[in-house]
Amino acid sequence: MRELDRIRWRCRRGLLELDLLLSGFLERRFDRLDAAERQAFTELLDQPDNDLLDLVLGRCEPAPRYRAVVEMLRAG
């Protein structure tokens, strides 16, 4: 599935922390996301690295539409 390949590449980031968190999430959880969650995850990948890391590490709170996916990312 090419869409998954594109998403996998966009999980390549400037920060190692995100490389580890996002690639792990992709392997373990991505298959089980529904369409809305996949869409939310894809949109999150457009965030700047530092903002995304702050979200995943719980240093700030996500907009409501991203809450479910961010919770999953935090759970690892």
Binding site: R2, R12, R13, G14, L16, E17, L57, G76
Partner: protein, 588 residues
Amino acid sequence: MALPVRTFDAVIVGGGGSGMRAALELARADLKVAVLSKVFPTRSHTVAAQGGVAASLGNIDEDNWHWHMYDTIKGSDYLGDQDAIEFMCRKANEVVYELEHFGMPFDRLAGGKIYQRPFGGHMREYGKSPVPRACAAADRTGHALLHTLYQANLKARTQFFVEWMALDLIRAQDGTVLGVTALEMETGEVMVLQAKATVFATGGAGRIFAASTNAFINTGDGLGMAARAGIPLQDLEFWQFHPTGVAGAGVLITEGVRGEGGYLLNKNGERFMERYAPNAKDLASRDVVSRAMATEIKEGRGAGKDGDCILLKLDHLGEEVISKRLPGIREIAKTFANVDPVKDPIPVVPTCHYQMGGIPTNYRGQVVVPANGNPETVVPGFYAAGECACVSVHGANRLGCNSLLDLLVFGKSAGETVIRDLRSEGKSHRSLPGDASDLALSRLARLDGQKSGERVADVGADMRRVMQLHCGVFRFPDLLTEGVRKIKEVAERAGRTEITDKSRTFNTARVEALELDNLVETAVASLVSADARKESRGSHDRADFHQRDDVNWMKHTLWYKQGSRLEYKPVHRKPLTVEPFEPKARVY
């Protein structure tokens, strides 16, 4: 097979700090510029730089470029080229003010001037006492720098090719560089990007080590391409290690943890730094702490079930101090080490952080190689800047905050030189040789046609293991010699990698195989160069030659892929305008 060709004045490979700074210089001179980047430019690894840009603005305390120059030369353990270091330190204020004008949100003093903070190794009056020299944007200096340069480039009409990977250099018969072949990931198409000037700004290859703070994209693509095209790689035995990366993950635990009173323990619960550095203890310089940790592990006192890590204890600081003074550390430790540092120590290991060596250049950003008796003959049409280049301002050891300065000064300098060279050499493109794309296409064909080959992940893992064990913080003669043999075996296996997914569009398996080709060139260069250098200097520390040897080894290493051959060239000990700084023992 004839590939589609696109033509530019300049092609820049890499969209991080140095690439975008070079691009900006060129685009503002109305040249037609293409920037290729594997990832969206603002997601380049420059984003990980937190500390700041070193510049002797003197906004808080008296400071000047002579003192900065001295610190950088001393920090380099006298392997840095003094002309390039003078050039960088003198240009620092200019590039910082320019960045300010481009819109960089530097932290400021009440009066509006740029705020500066002290940083390790930056001193006043030739090493007397610390001076605030780092210009920062909170703890997001790299992030702010990338966004500022990206916006400025859009305004100047730089053309970005995002999610493109350069494959190989194109050189004419006489060696002139005429552009690159490149892969567009989206379509899987290979194209020739022809240019009057090709600038490499591809960053470092820190992913050659098992323990690395570097992002996955740091695969030394420029180094691999240069090596395959017959360009030597310089000083790759010199890698900076950070003492406290999370074991197994690499994620950095800031030095601030030890600054606040955290300390390191071996498996016996001993605070071993007291033996290695009785005064500074856990706050000794990075190389001293890293070497002490490596020695503890090597002598069987490592912690963890495999005895291969050290424990960073901070629970005695209490939850309040940890949360208040070390924000984020608890989340990082919980997430990446599975420990809550309020209760348990964090397992850490010395972790590869920065590549001091790279593609040999002069301070104008031109790539230089030995030819006709001149060790630094310019390769026409070829330029490099940033971590992929070895100019060499960091020598055997880099000072904090000098990496962002390096990419600004030499990104700009490369841009200025390209403009000058294009003006003097006329406007037309040279025709491409018939075999322009052969190297790239043959690598792709080999990969697609490989039967019963090796898995990319397996070869990569073995490369990282060999580098970690044989070419780490502390180097032992037997391990180095055995490491050379092993890494050459790994390199051979990298020539037989096989991918099962042969599709064209967004084939990440293919990209990773191509990246491995680049990583192994850097890995072989590093091990062969380290094995040959029979002294200790900066980050290169040998158990059998424990002293710096200026008589025999104050020289730069050049490694050639062809025959894995080494040559050496002199260090530039003469600055541009001031008296040379003579080598002294490096004590802090």
